[in-house]
């Protein structure tokens, strides 16, 4: 056992070291793509009405007239000194913008993932163990509709019902303006308020999270139900399950100890891959619920060709992807003892 955990540690270290060249490549690619694409930040922000001389001046100050390699190395230097450049749109350092918004997106994606996993694995197993019966078809129709609902429209409906008609939950933002936010530790309001032992702030921040994460989570659950169902069906029909049954093991134990565990490995892997899907949904969900997270930030940055902001967001997104896939690998290594690194 000691040997395998040592090799897992070596694997994790190798992956983290590999992250540096990977991010550099990603950054270079984004840098080039942005320069090749038509339009530039100053024109996008000031529009056609802007005074040409002023625009010219700003462009010079931003170094947009410098040769490409000069711009590239200036930018790389700012990345390695850790401040990721300054947003052209907001004139704030990109790293500050990200620090403000990343916690919002982390809270949203993490809580949506919980909603989606509980619903997805629960209903997927429910349908998979009742294959071709009415319950199976009902669940599948629910999954098809959940996955195909326009996410922003679904968010609006939840907002209307639970926020405005019933008045149970707040419909926008991350925190009530009448309460004072907890002292900044992680930036995640839920965790910070717990750290400060401020129960009212905790309840408030969770209440603000419920509708957005239900919106995003239910849509994603549609996808998880499908994956879980198929894998449960495959596992239930496999030779090892039949062998377990032949040995007279009770059906419930066969299911929980043999089938479900095997069904979950591909499900967990797929969940890691759905981060891309989650982020797409987050852009729209954040818009509907005025939830100031990375999705909104990236969308605005792209609309205004805010080069440093886009590049900074890409770097953080890349880091997040690596961390998540690493996490998934480790999780799978625990669930499936055959997986070793």
């Amino acid at each position: 056992m000691a040997g395998s955990s040592a090799s897992l540690r070596a694997y994790v270290i190798a992956r983290v070291i590999l992250m540096v060249p990977m991010l550099l490549l990603l950054l270079t690619f984004t840098f080039l793509l942005l320069r090749v694409a038509p339009g530039d930040p100053v024109n996008a922000i000031y529009g056609e009405r802007g005074n040409p001389q002023v625009i010219d001046q700003i462009k010079r100050e931003l170094g947009l007239y410098d040769p490409l390699y000069v711009q590239y190395f200036t930018y790389l230097r700012s990345v390695f000194t850790g401040n990721m450049g300054t947003s052209i749109l907001t004139s704030k350092p990109v790293i500050e913008e990200v620090q403000d918004r990343m916690p919002a997106t982390l809270e949203l994606t993490f809580s949506s993932m919980i909603v989606a996993s509980v619903l997805g694995i629960g209903l997927g197993t429910f349908a998979g163990t009742r294959r071709d019966r009415p319950a199976d078809y009902g669940t599948r129709i629910f999954a098809a509709m959940a996955y195909n609902i326009p996410i922003f429209w679904f968010g609006l409906i939840l907002k209307l019902i639970f926020g405005l008609w019933l008045g149970w939950l707040p419909v926008s933002g991350r925190f009530s303006p009448r309460l004072s936010p907890p002292p900044h530790v992680t930036g995640l309001y839920t965790i910070d308020s717990l750290l400060a032992l401020d129960l009212r702030a905790f309840v408030d921040s969770v209440a603000h999270l419920i509708l957005p994460s239900l919106t995003l989570g239910i849509v994603l659950a549609g996808f998880f139900i499908r994956i879980t169902r198929v894998n449960v069906i495959q596992a239930m029909g496999s030779d090892f399950v039949e062998a377990a049954r032949a040995r007279g093991i009770p059906e419930q134990a066969v299911f929980f100890q043999h089938a479900l565990k095997n069904a979950l490995v591909p499900v967990i892997t797929t969940m890691g891959l759905t981060f891309a899907l989650l982020f797409s949904g987050a852009i729209l969900t954040e818009t509907v619920f005025s939830f100031e997270g990375m999705g909104r930030f990236v969308f605005l940055a792209i609309s205004y060709r805010d080069y440093p902001a886009i590049q900074g967001a890409v770097v953080y997104y890349g880091i997040l992807m690596v961390v998540i896939s690493l996490f998934i690998d480790i999780l799978n290594a625990f669930v499936d003892p055959r997986i070793r690194y």
């Binding site: 609006l156 069906i233 852009i283």
Partner: protein, 302 residues
């Protein structure tokens, strides 16, 4: 608790499995037909729009934000336009987007996938790497980038959506080709000296083609959603063209008071995308031998 694990009682209900199987196949068939019927109805609605829409979709026909009722079945929007008429005309945009975007992805993704899977080697590895990186990128974000670069319009939006979907066709086709390539009949054809192009056209493509309808239906549903999402964010079509996504983006800020102007367009998006998914799901049930094989096996052993 016993009912929870119906599959465990297969030996008990073994005699019933035959009818089970038949039933499952007909249910899958029914689902496909329901999907096809809904999609055809929407196509018909779009084609007959000039004749069946009660009002002109771009004209103010009543007070803004009139509630549903009377001549306005679904009410009017913030500009006083008839919501129902806009929905009928608005079906044209998603259908056009589906047609153009899926064709583009298929026309680009299929040949690259065939080539990559059949040729293999270094070319295959590079293509897989490129396609996988596009695939790992959030789809809507990619579409936003492309749309922000090339601008508005049906063709532009379709292209932005097509880019997102090329890797999906590529992956499925490529993996399928890579496995079909190992089949004895393909090896036999190659050994007999049949030119590569004919081997692909005659033996590989027909075998791989069965996975296209399933991807197509998922792709079609997703392209409707992506278009609506882009339009919602203000990157979709220019104003003036009735479009379900655009109508939502126009009216959603007033959703609390004027729910009908946002609710109905969204409902139609949901109906269309769900119908498309029904087609795909049903076809998948019928075509996917991986899940079906187990069924036969259980029957044989029961």
């Amino acid at each position: 608790m016993a009912g929870w694990f119906a599959r465990g009682r297969i030996s008990v209900v073994g005699r019933l499995m035959g009818s089970f199987l038949q039933k499952s196949r007909t249910i899958a068939g029914v689902i496909v037909w329901i999907g096809i019927a809904i999609v055809l109805a929407i196509i018909l609605m779009a084609m007959l729009a000039p004749f069946i829409a009660p009002f002109d979709p771009n004209t103010k026909v009543a007070n803004p934000e009139t509630a549903p009722g009377g001549p306005f079945l679904m009410g009017t929007d913030r500009s006083g336009q008839d919501v129902l008429s806009r929905i009928i005309w608005g079906a044209r945009v998603p259908l056009a987007i589906i047609a153009v975007a899926t064709t583009m992805s298929l026309v680009i993704g299929l040949p690259i996938g065939l080539l990559s899977g059949f040729v293999g080697g270094r070319l295959d590895r590079i293509l897989v790497l490129v396609m996988d990186s596009i695939y790992a990128f959030p789809g809507l974000l990619l579409a936003i980038v492309v749309a922000a670069i090339i601008g508005r319009g049906i063709l532009n939006i379709s292209f932005a959506i097509a880019v997102v979907y090329i890797p999906t066709y590529f992956r499925v086709i490529r993996n399928h080709v890579a496995s079909v390539k190992q089949e004895p009949y393909v090896e036999a054809a190659m050994a007999l000296g049949m030119p590569r192009r004919r081997v692909i056209g005659r033996y590989v493509l027909p075998n791989v083609a069965q996975s296209i309808p399933v991807i197509f239906s998922v792709n079609a549903a997703d392209s409707v959603l992506t278009e609506a999402g882009l339009t919602f964010l203000g990157l979709g079509l220019p104003p003036g063209i009735p479009d379900w996504g655009f109508d939502i983006s126009l009216n959603w800020q007033r959703f609390d008071a004027v729910w009908w102007a946002t609710f109905y367009p969204g409902l139609f998006i949901l109906i269309l995308t769900t119908a498309l998914t029904f087609i795909g799901e049903g076809l998948n049930d019928i075509l996917n031998p991986l899940l079906r094989k187990k069924e036969y096996k259980s029957v044989a052993e029961a």
